[in-house]
Symmetry: C2
Subunit: 343 residues, 2 copies
Amino acid sequence: MEQQRTELSALGEFTLIKHLTQYFLPKNEGTIRDAGDDAAVMQPMEGKQLVMTTDMLVEGVHFDLMYTPLKHLGYKSVVVNLSDICAMNATPTQFTVGLAVSNKYSVEALEELYSGILAACDAYGVDMVGGDTTTIPTGCVISITAIGYANKEDIALRSTVKEGDLLVVSGDLGGAYMGLQVLEREKEVFKSAPTAQPSLENYDYILARQLKPEARLDIVQLLAKLEVKPTAMIDISDGLSSEILHLAEESECTFAIYEDKLPIAPETRDAAKEHNIDPTTCALNGGEDYELLFTVSQNDFEKIKGNPNLSIIGHATEKAGENLLMTIGGGSVKLSAQGWKTL
Amino acid sequence: MEQQRTELSALGEFTLIKHLTQYFLPKNEGTIRDAGDDAAVMQPMEGKQLVMTTDMLVEGVHFDLMYTPLKHLGYKSVVVNLSDICAMNATPTQFTVGLAVSNKYSVEALEELYSGILAACDAYGVDMVGGDTTTIPTGCVISITAIGYANKEDIALRSTVKEGDLLVVSGDLGGAYMGLQVLEREKEVFKSAPTAQPSLENYDYILARQLKPEARLDIVQLLAKLEVKPTAMIDISDGLSSEILHLAEESECTFAIYEDKLPIAPETRDAAKEHNIDPTTCALNGGEDYELLFTVSQNDFEKIKGNPNLSIIGHATEKAGENLLMTIGGGSVKLSAQGWKTL
């Protein structure tokens, strides 16, 4: 079956934007006017503070269209921003989308992309309130800016860890990284033998972690329900080690974490073994898990212990020390930011 | 004298961002935490509504580095967003910057770009509150999202023109377009004879209109001072005709404008003649003037007449009609959106 291809130039900017955004209906009562004017108009949430973040995804740097479905890309591009809002212990409400695409992209391709953006709106109860669409000589850049709200006293910065605080991570780690390894492997197979079927069976979990990450708004809500105020928080986009070093630097403290406490899914462990990668390395340095990493007072231990969504992986130590991983073998190694990406 | 060139890879993302943003100090009391966390934290202005807009500038589409100084580019990339905030009759307060650059750009080049962004912060009293910096295989994309505030009753949409309203434009028109023509001409001269000196003398005004546009925040403030509430407003980015058609479509009305009322600077007129372009065509279809186009009730005529910053160029007519330009010769022609850019 032949796929229809409509050139972007067939519609022109304004018609295209109306076409792509026709199914977006504001859900948020604070959204007064979304697209169609010089700017969106919103009613700020009364008595709360506003948080705002921007993330860009660039073709050839952050995503590879060879194995990234456009719908997933649209979803992920929203989610990575919502994750940053959640990492402030805030609730995301609206976002804008800046999209620069080359004429390689058809109208149908952008429909796919926007269907993913719409799916993220539905999943998180947020509204797309405008943006900008433009051409670019080659490739694609998606720049999303999200806003959200929190009570002043609930906002969790990176710089407010206190000595003795427990270090907690949501969900599990390393899955997105292993998903990427599987996709890269199958891409190489495909390049050398284009008729071969990709063998992606049994990798559902880690592929979803890579291709369809989620922002842990549920954890923000869970913490509120448990009446636990994180003393500091960050989301894990570049890998656990890297984010721990950020918290340590911003808060002028150090951390000790325990290898045997790192949450790693069985599927991630299996794939890591298959690729001859140490699962602990995946958990420490694999990026894009978009889990929340936060500290809580020891007084909150009883409220969070045993919660299947939360793992206490270590604690904040005095500043003079090093950031250490206590290994299963009983030793300790200095944490380094191998997941740290150059620009 | 040899210019220093430091590769972006020499610094890495986090060090680079710290380096580039070191001179940015928040001026706005609503800015609580700018860069350095997962998201910026701001205190919304009490009792006001929030407006938000995104604009992207793409190398090779919106700017040509051959004649665009990077400092001007940084300034302009902020200003085009602030202009959209002003077009809501609102006051801009903060913005984020998403920047994707190839390794063609050096640290020194980005310093220039950021010095322009900083100059815009100083000129408009707004704060850069974060963003994202990333690599891109080729070129450069700047995506800025700005926010601002206005009293609910002051916000001016595009869709609220009333029949009989006066159509008003700030400043003068066509200058940015003629500035671009001069730059393009000199670029061609340079390409055919690289040792020739560009002849840019006597073009200061129109070159500044193109390279260093301003957002008309002063007009928003003037209208408040005059106690004139625009019934509708838009900024002129794609050309007067195109913006009039937007107002007409969104408000379900039509306009009649008068050729002899169009504000055109002498420098623009001179350059247009030199290039054998009709000055009226420049005013109607030349883009990037970033002036404000708005409607006011006839009752406000006395308050705005004779103001050197404002020109009454026409009025809103009943919907059944066409959007017309009444020519100096006494005829009338239908307005069309020739300034309308395809994607």
